[in-house]
Symmetry: D2
Subunit: 375 residues, 4 copies
């Protein structure tokens, strides 16, 4: 059976198609994610594998636009929240068929790898308890961290939405895991290759599987969440069909979802690749830390894009939204992890390759910033 | 000018084409890496960019084989050294033209992404001092770690090799950085996409650039070093040419090398993808740790390969040696990093896709293990 | 400016979503093609180049289906009309997001290379005169051929459609070239790679360029018209934007359109390839005839698909509709032209590769045939 | 069993690495092809399928160069022999690892799709008789054609080579088919995708299969033989292994070879595509003639390359030697066949894409021409 599901964007419509970032600055993050579901699949039982063919992910015909945001350090942050003392910024993207382009980041146009940022089955009570226990443990161990290291169940702003008995609703709000991280059921994994055309195999934990989906992205780099809200976020429709493989968890050794990527992801064969090591910008040496290494690769790429004329904020947004690839190179060559970040050259209007004569700097203006002008 | 450089394998020939892993167990790691160079490039000066076109990487005609090894916990280890209490294992690969296959891991054959695991310019004295300072700092902070977190300059086994005045030789042995990790000059980055056909841009730190190269790999997954010696290591010849872009460091904002991948890397479009989160096998929650997440994705893939009939050791070696792709998914969705690992299905003789009826288990024997039979 | 254009299917809705091929048998071919346009582009003048970015090609939301037909020898025919004494057959395809599948050809599912079969600028009166002269010359030289070698202007069934003065309308019907073949302006070229995401450069022959478009295909093999109506024909919407390069005809030496294919065409890297020579099925030798060679490659592929259980008609329809690739190999090795036809293996539910034990034959039923049962 | 076979170039060494084309002008074509073999495969019998894995195709280490030639109208000709009144021209290519470049065609560098131009099993006496009959029939019907439409068995220059009884030798020379065209056994198909890494399935016609191979190409476009000697011809080594599928001809319906292309062919995703119709340069209309259409696409591409500064001869040679793709578009849209020719943009040093300001013309000199200066 083929199912069409309408989705709000992940913020529930808090961000507008306009030219300042005040809405990003003032966003209420207690309200996220706005998901669709849960959808019960007849015949699915714990231990089965739910096969989901993602057939299409498309913006609403009347809303052919999306957004990418950098969040304030105090409200969500982003990968470089501290390094950049991030203020709210955003880019609005026009979505035209297979392509995205933005008045806030001129000179680029790319085909989207459209996908749901969040899709997953429902946890069993036991699995939910495990999540809450391990995450609350982490919170307890880093109680004063800003931004927080994790988010416990939180009734305020919880989006449950169905017409449920009051007692049930309260229980869900009080015990339900917040949807920010991906977990064993899938969830907010932000994997760009879970794109339209892909086939996904989810473990089933409860009768009916109870699939939820949302946080549609028109496009995203490998590390969507670089700028916290790094994909091209959109409202739209996801189309999929489902089938069940009985006993699939045992048959395939499924601890988490597995999937087959789509044959129609954009193909940009020429790429310019940046490297990063697990030594931070202050020269501090980390031990095999791929996250630190990834950040350095991203910083090296941002520096290059600045040589071409993009602002730091534009570059940061672009790396989050475009079909960038990032690979984990080495993580046994003590003490340095090495991570690469590859930018497809074909998304740029101009030739960005290194030339003996150097790079040509173009004035691309700036992305949307706060109305008070703070950066 | 086109240059052909002969290279020993990274161990200097300590591993043989045979059917037990005693040589891996007994390897002397003080002697690595065996590199070729340094090669001075006329006209290169600090601040320039050295362009290196890697034209070919090929085994010696008389040695058409390579090896992949799992190292003992006490001697090098590997990504799962502790989890698996690793004992020495290895696979010997026959290299026939574009393909590798192994009597120790039957049922697979794949085209190689041949590349130098290690290539880089020489550091300036200042840069070298920075390396030694930050790495020795890390060592001091984790003095009792097994395996060690990093390796200081070490005269024993140091491979300098040129006919140098004694005093110079001693100084180099005493102060020269060991070549285990990649650093700002390139070095042991183990990036599979630095493959034959790629164009690399290195920062130059000293007059002549002084390029060194070695640790040739016939093939490798994205995280070569999973099993410590994870690539298909080989002895052979690298062919490249060089040119110089004056002032390239400033022109391109080069803090580390950048590169353009080759147009001839193997193309396997269908892949089966595994996910991993930053929760370890004991259920411990980590904060945004991409390394932990990568390890879980690898463990999930190993579990799947075991369902197909490969032993844990064969699966571990295969993921290290074959053209596996690994992407960093999300690292802002607190607290979970999410990493994916993609196995090309076309490298297997049999269909490995999930089927409603489950997976067919085949007996593939075992890889080469220690002659005392310990695993 | 971005333009959305609605299009009927090329037959103007003569084929229905049902299970017999009587509508194909009885089709009125005087009425084709049903196109949309002409659209005048402000500022375009003869000698300019009209740049068209094809942003999307999608079926109407309410008509998520398409058709592929084999036409009767006496009415359109097809590449094998004579060899197969073709009777009307068809397959209805369900279009779900990126995928097409058919109840009439079970066991396959593929991502579409959606494109307009026909798109082109308007000819100048001089160019039109050239077309009519050369084609009428060919008709005169082969006056008795069945099917005819070409089609002269024909008032009956001509689809002009605008509210024009009677005299103008009559002149157009009497002199306007029929749209069956592609010509110097583009037109009915049936090039699958003119797909959504591609950028096309058309020569402009009249003021305003007068672009017309239609004959939308959800998918097609390299030689769409193998079964005459070989693509997955559909009604739907094409979205594009336009710009002008002044004097582009001279700047680029444009005698015909040139284009850049889309980065989002389906990627099926594994293919099974068949060869064909310019020797026909009766053993007759032709001199360097790529058309004859192409037909032999197609026949060889059909024979293989029959071994898998498809009927000749299903195989014929499938090769026309799926993303098959065909290359011209050699056409100087006298006397044989050599042409290849590549079938992506990933579109099949089962493994179709040659196996030592032979191929497994599955019963796939039959496509839609005539209600009188004639084949 | 893995087999290494040494091959002369197809001319037997008649062309030199120098800067004029006199050797091309004076070539003795009675002596071609110089092949290696036949190689008998134990156990192969008529009706079996011989599986050949092409593992490597590489130039001799001491001869890292190859050539591409345009032949004189009177001696071999080429696709445009008449249109261009072709005089002998050539380009010498330097082969460095994966790349080819030429002093005679500056500004391009590309990765090779290395393959044997000619590989095939031996015909049975019956099959040989069929070949001779049908080809001699064609010759008889076009007795005065220049160049000839086909080549009958010809003792002069025949290259049989083995130490055979005189009577046998004479019989072979008198009855053996010349190797210019590809036939049902494979042979001189000049299919670039039969490249290193591919797996080929040949029908077996005689006991032992008797495989012959030669005419190694470092690279070639889809229609190698455009300039008659259009590939980068080289002397070198082919490595392959063989296995047998009993009864494979019947199992797979093999009338001609089928094959799986290599996963390591160069990937240049961005291409500029030219179209051609079956109307020749004099405006003559042909009926569905894909060969005429192909020639027009090639002429359109040559015109474009001339705008960039290449001479007609350089463009002609480049299209023959580089990894150009050509697809048969439509051959049912009476009366026009439509063929496309795609040039990868990534092989050029400069950006060749159409720009609003037009194309930049560079002086690339000329290829090697006759010492008497005639063109």
């Amino acid at each position: 059976m083929i199912i069409d599901v309408d989705n709000q964007d992940w913020t529930g419509g808090q961000i507008g198609n306009n030219d300042n970032s005040d809405d990003v600055k003032n966003i209420d993050l207690t309200k996220v994610h706005n998901l669709s579901g849960p959808i019960a699949v007849e015949g699915a039982e714990p231990g089965d594998c739910l096969v989901v063919d993602i057939l299409d992910v498309t913006p609403f015909e009347k809303m052919p636009w999306g957004f990418t945001g950098i969040f304030e350090l105090e409200n969500g942050g982003g990968l470089f929240a501290r390094e950049f003392r991030s203020r709210a910024c955003k880019a609005i993207w026009d979505l035209n068929g297979v392509y995205a382009s933005s008045r806030h980041i001129p000179g680029v146009r790319f085909a989207g790898v459209s996908h749901p940022g969040l899709i997953g089955t429902a946890p069993s009570p036991e699995l939910l308890a495990t999540w809450n226990e391990r995450e609350c443990g982490l919170i307890a161990a880093h109680a004063t961290s800003v931004p927080p290291v994790a988010f416990p169940p939180e009734p305020i702003g919880a989006w449950v939405g169905q017409d449920l008995p009051n007692q049930t609703l309260e229980k869900i709000k009080k015990e339900g895991a917040r949807t920010i991280p991906g977990r064993e059921h899938g969830g907010n994994c932000d994997i760009k290759n879970l794109s339209k055309g892909s086939r996904c195999y989810f473990p089933v934990f409860v009768k009916g599987a109870n699939l939820s989906v949302g946080d549609l992205h028109f496009s995203q780099g490998d590390v969507r969440t670089m700028s916290f809200c790094g994909a091209i976020e959109m409202a739209g429709i996801i189309t999929f069909n489902t089938s069940i493989i009985k006993g699939g968890v045992e048959k395939f050794g499924l601890k988490q979802p597995i999937f087959l990527p789509s044959p129609v992801d954009p193909m940009y064969s020429q790429k310019l690749v940046f490297e990063g090591l697990s030594v931070d910008i202050n020269g501090k040496q980390y031990y095999m830390d791929a996250t630190v290494a990834y950040k350095q690769a991203a910083l090296n790429a941002i520096a290059y894009l600045q040589k071409l004329g993009y602002t730091r904020e534009q570059a940061y947004l672009l790396l989050s939204a475009a079909p960038i690839e990032s690979h984990v190179g080495a993580i046994v060559d003590s003490p340095n992890a090495c991570v690469t970040l590859a930018i497809p050259t074909g998304i740029f209007e101009h030739d960005i390759l290194p030339k003996p004569e150097g790079l040509t700097k173009v004035n691309y203006g700036q992305c949307a910033i706060r109305s008070d002008g703070l950066l």
